[in-house]
């Protein structure tokens, strides 16, 4: 089959939404399909959103490829007779973040008109699609609630989970990922401060462009609390083999984002490396993957309760190892694999 994959990007920013596209392209090619990936720069600035929606709508791909797979918003507005949308998130300011402190669209008549236009455009792009998939139950519920669209959850797998391994249980918890405020690495430091065991913490990842201050704040928090010997911050790009080694040697993985749409690749990587994952009840999509007490711990976002979880993992290594090994089963149970993804997207 000839397949066009379309997505939007912020140039030079890598993350979950760029990996899902790159990896899907590779997997489709490995299965003998001819793939062309179109990556359109997109500005998130609400003042520029509407005109860009129109730009996407005007581009006509209807003569190219047997199928269009649209990934990141608003590539679902592109025109194609056999368009399959794998929806990974809304323009949330117009949806669930409307009326919260995270709403970026102003609450003015113009802002309300913009919000309504975004919703109307989404309804058009989604309703005309041949099929609509999404990457998590959170997104599925939102599509149903706001757009009355019935989407099928299709969990995105890792490119090569088999490359991850465990080299036994070390003495440190790993928080890997971009350094940005809503990932709440600070909550991990605040919690570690309250532990009674000698468990350590390694925070690793690149500061998000524009969030360079945040990395310094984290270091400041460590220093202020005299945790220099127990917390290590690697504020830089982590190469793949170093990353796998960090996973292999850790005790457990911690992940405390605020209300993420999907589970995040770090959760899959923890499972692939047979490590338990410690997360919070308000983390969002990761709660679809981690079951408290089975393949990790899910606690309220309270430093004291998190600290208990950290100590438990450190003090009972056998239990930690068992929970880590349960991760793979959970992935199989949810059907997170490429064979299924390709089968569904091309059905």
């Amino acid at each position: 089959m000839k397949i066009v994959i379309a997505t939007s990007i912020t140039p030079f920013v890598e993350g979950g939404s760029t990996y899902i596209v790159d990896w899907l392209g590779k997997k489709l090619e490995a299965c003998g399909h001819e793939v062309d990936i179109l990556r359109f720069p997109f500005s998130e600035d609400h003042a520029e959103v509407l005109q860009q929606l129109l730009a996407f709508r005007l581009l006509d791909l209807s003569e190219h490829g047997d199928r269009l797979i649209s990934i990141r918003w608003p590539s679902h507005l592109l025109r194609h007779p056999k368009k399959v949308v794998w929806f990974i998130h809304h323009y949330r300011s117009a949806y669930d973040l409307w009326g919260t402190e995270y709403q970026s669209i102003p609450n003015t008549p113009e802002g309300i008109a913009l919000r309504d236009a975004v919703i109307a455009a989404d309804n058009v792009g989604l309703c005309e699609a041949y099929r609509v998939f999404c990457n998590s139950s959170v997104v599925k519920d939102r599509l149903e609630k706001f757009n009355s669209v019935d989407a099928e959850v299709l969990y995105p797998p890792l490119l090569s989970p088999e490359l991850f391994y465990s080299a036994g249980s070390g003495d440190y918890l790993l928080y890997l990922g971009r350094l940005t405020r809503h990932k709440r690495q600070w909550l991990a430091i605040e919690s570690l401060r309250l532990t009674t065991s000698r468990v350590r913490l390694v925070i690793a990842g690149q500061p998000e462009p524009g969030s360079e201050f945040y990395a310094e704040e984290l270091q400041g928090l460590v220093t202020r609390n005299g945790l220099e010997s127990r917390v290590e911050i690697l504020a830089r790009w982590i190469p793949e083999d170093e990353k796998r080694s960090l996973f292999a040697n850790c005790l457990a993985v911690v992940y405390f984002p605020l209300d993420e749409d999907s589970y995040g690749y770090i959760s899959l990587e923890a499972c692939a490396a047979s490590k338990p994952l410690l997360t919070t009840t308000d983390a969002g999509g990761v709660n679809e993957l981690i079951i408290d007490g089975a393949n990790g711990f899910v606690t309220p976002p309270d430093p004291e309760l998190i600290a208990h979880g950290m100590d438990d993992l450190y003090n009972d290594r056998d239990a930690a190892r068992e929970m880590g090994e349960a991760g793979q089963e959970r992935i199989a149970e949810l059907g997170i694999n490429w064979a299924r993804v390709l089968q569904r997207l091309l059905s």
Binding site: L38, Q51, A55, L58, L59, D60
Partner: protein, 341 residues
């Protein structure tokens, strides 16, 4: 600098422009910039789609970008405060091809589209800090139709140091994508008229199935023609050039000199081309770096026979071609400096 290279695209199709856009993006990174290639789909048939895609480009945004380098219509309409245009070509259907079979139709829709394209070029191309063109033909056209000045900036090969010359063998090489406009058929027709034992190797993937069929039926049972009907890897191409007697490149009215010409000269092989091939004439000087003949199989046959019968001459022309290219500053140093100044 964080740079966006803007090109248009037809999904799944790759030709010279796509190759150049990718090479430029790679080279910008090699010279220490962050570069991203932005490919904007373009549909021009029927002509009502032209305006939609022009508008789409105008509405696009480029966050996180310090400079745009735009190559083609309509991608060069994408607004960016610090944009340079390296013009490969405008929408020729609205300019020099108007009135030909490939141009816009002479009906009201065609006329309106033409008017819109010319207006938009006149209004938006001057937004660029500077306009470069890939050939003097592109630059002249921009000047004639839009009264805009462009500096000629020749596109180099991605790399050329791997091309070699092992011998002056017995075949004329015809490399590249096979289609009607590249006129590979002329050389196949010509070989039937050759008096010497010169052979021909046609190597490349056809644009459409019919293009391959045409070539195959013209070859018939003539075992002097070898048809390698598929995409040729870089290594294979280097090898084919290395053992060739000469190269034939006969497109109809091309704007620029073509990568094939550069590859041939870096392999020290003379180039046979036609009087109506356009920009190739910049590098192919008749009797000095190759042979320029009318698009006539009999004359092409004569040219092939001459090179086959006088390989010393063939070598001298190939070497002269290489010297000419090296004297013209067709280098990435020059290109990157010009586009990022």
């Amino acid at each position: 600098m964080r740079i966006a290279v803007l090109n248009n695209c037809v999904p799944f199709l790759r030709g010279g422009a796509e190759h150049l856009a990718e090479a430029l993006t790679l080279k910008l990174a090699e010279y220490g910039h962050s570069a991203v290639l932005v490919r904007v789909p373009f549909r021009w048939h029927p002509s009502r789609h032209v305006g939609e895609h022009m508008l789409a480009c105008r509405l696009m945004k480029l966050p996180n970008i310090d400079r745009a380098i735009a190559l083609k219509f309509p991608a060069y309409y994408v607004p960016q405060a610090n944009k340079v245009v390296w013009l490969l070509h405008q929408f020729r259907q609205a300019y020099d091809l108007l009135g030909t079979a490939e141009g816009l139709s002479e009906n009201s829709e065609g006329r309106e589209t033409r008017e819109m394209v010319v207006q938009a070029d006149n209004s938006y191309l001057p937004e660029a800090r500077k306009i470069f063109a890939n050939s003097h033909i592109t630059a002249e056209r921009l000047n004639r139709y839009n009264h805009l000045q462009a500096t000629v900036l020749y596109p180099p090969l991605l790399r050329h140091d791997h091309f070699t010359c092992a011998e002056y063998g017995d075949y004329v090489l015809v490399p590249g994508r096979i289609n009607e406009a590249k006129r590979q058929r002329l050389i196949v027709e010509a070989v039937h008229h050759c008096k010497s034992n010169v052979k021909v190797v046609v190597a490349g993937s056809p644009e459409r199935l019919e293009d391959a069929k045409t070539i195959r039926s013209l070859i018939g049972n003539d075992d002097r023609v070898l048809f390698i009907n598929r995409f040729i890897s870089e290594d294979e191409k280097v090898e084919l050039f290395s053992h060739a007697l000469a190269c034939a490149y006969l497109p109809y009215d091309e704007d620029s000199y073509g990568y094939v010409t550069l590859e041939s000269y870096f392999s020290k092989k003379p180039v046979i081309t036609c009087t109506d091939s356009g920009g190739i004439g910049l590098l192919v000087k008749d009797e000095i770096t190759g042979l320029v003949v009318p698009p006539d199989p009999l004359r092409l046959a004569l040219a092939m026979d001459r090179l086959f019968d006088d390989k010393v001459r063939a070598r001298r022309m190939g070497e002269a071609g290489c010297e000419l290219v090296e004297s013209m500053n067709i280098t990435w140093d020059h290109v990157i400096e010009s586009l990022t100044k």
